[in-house]
Subunit: 239 residues, 2 copies
């Protein structure tokens, strides 16, 4: 936890915050909170700063928050990704959210197994918890939005045009040219296929709908590392 | 498995190969091997090509291999990384090997827990298996070398100079300038700290020994994604 994520509802009218549950236990066991100790904190959807511990009780910690700086800038990437198997799904969420993505659309694809759509990890409760953990890792405060689209073509044809009207569209396609420099730092819709890749039909469909194929070089990466590598290239600002 | 990894010892004098164990089961259960079916294959340390299944028996598969192309070029990066906790260690191995790193040196650092050095995952047996799986994922055939250095300073002072004499040295240091373009594609020694980062003393020591600090932007990534993102930037050839 690189940042303690606070919410408006944690605050008392006095301005102090009371937290319990996971965050309380983490402060107690990892940060070794004692009165007077400070740690990085932020308000969900708001500013970052420091929390000063005022009291540590059995089941709750009381603290005072002071604002300092805004959250890190978001990465202007909308990630469309074929719904991965459950463990990979969690890794992709972690990776994309840590790297500053604020919108992820999980889509269907021929090679997505039907059972993946039934997983408990798609629940709002699971997502709420995982997304908070990823924000705390990244020292970010802005909650990303996650959507699920169990139909591939209607999503690309009917919904995508309204999502990111001015954004470039690129799709990870093995063997395509590596991410061209012009996309770095620009608003981009990035499509990533399932294990084994999009089918030829799906690749053709994406290309017909304005996507440019981009590759990652000669090695074949598992999904979460392909996402990390593509986002790392898209986030370059200093080149 | 994007490539079936064969070894010289799998081959019979007739030129056919017989495989059993994990690879046999994967061919049978995942590739659904039947006589006449082909799959991508490669010789450990050698060429890639295709394997044609000749026979599938209860405990072994017999196949014929034909050479086609060399393995993908290695990434000219030596990764020095503070030994991570066991699960993260495996993810770092997977990521670096899939991205083409051929030498990884796990080093000590103040924040590395002593118990990490006792883990069963440091055994040659564990490594042999994991490295093969990562090569099969990446469609690579060249086995990387893995080393362990339980002392930080002697390694940096005495051993490092002989390892990669002409290579640039860079170290991931939060807040430093993002990976400068001049390092992309060049031989590089990349140092990555533990969870929580190198200490100020260690950072100073690295800078004194010729390392340039490089950052990854405003978000704090967990170790395996930081490695993926740094390697992705170092592997750029088209910018």
């Amino acid at each position: 936890m690189n940042l303690l994520l606070l919410e408006e509802k944690d605050f008392l009218p006095s301005g102090e915050a009371r937290i319990s549950g996971r965050r309380h236990r983490q402060l107690r066991d990892v940060i070794k909170a004692v009165p007077g100790k400070r740690c990085r904190a932020g308000i969900l959807g708001g500013m970052r700063g420091h929390a000063e511990i005022l009291a540590c009780e059995e089941d709750l910690t009381i603290l005072r928050f002071s604002e300092e700086d805004p959250p890190p800038p978001p990465l202007p990437v909308t990630l469309l990704i074929a719904l991965p198997r459950p463990q990979t799904y969690t890794k992709v969420l972690n990776c994309a959210v840590e790297m500053g993505v604020k919108r992820i659309d999980f889509i269907n694809s021929f090679k997505v197994e039907k059972s993946f759509w039934q997983g408990s990890r798609l629940s709002q409760e699971y997502l709420d918890n995982e997304l908070r953990l990823a924000l705390e890792q990244a020292a970010d405060t802005v909650m990303p939005q996650i959507f699920f689209h169990p139909r591939f073509k209607p999503f690309i044809e009917d919904e995508l045009p309204g999502l990111s009207p001015g954004a470039a569209r690129i799709a990870g396609i093995p063997g395509a040219e590596e991410v061209p420099e012009r996309f770095a730092g620009a608003p981009v819709v990035l499509a990533v296929g399932p294990e084994g890749g999009f089918t030829d039909y799906e690749n053709g469909f994406l290309l017909e709908h304005g996507f440019t194929g981009v590759g990652l070089g000669p090695h074949i990466l598992r999904t979460e590392f392909a996402v990390a590598a593509l986002l790392a290239r898209l986030s370059i600002r200093s080149f």
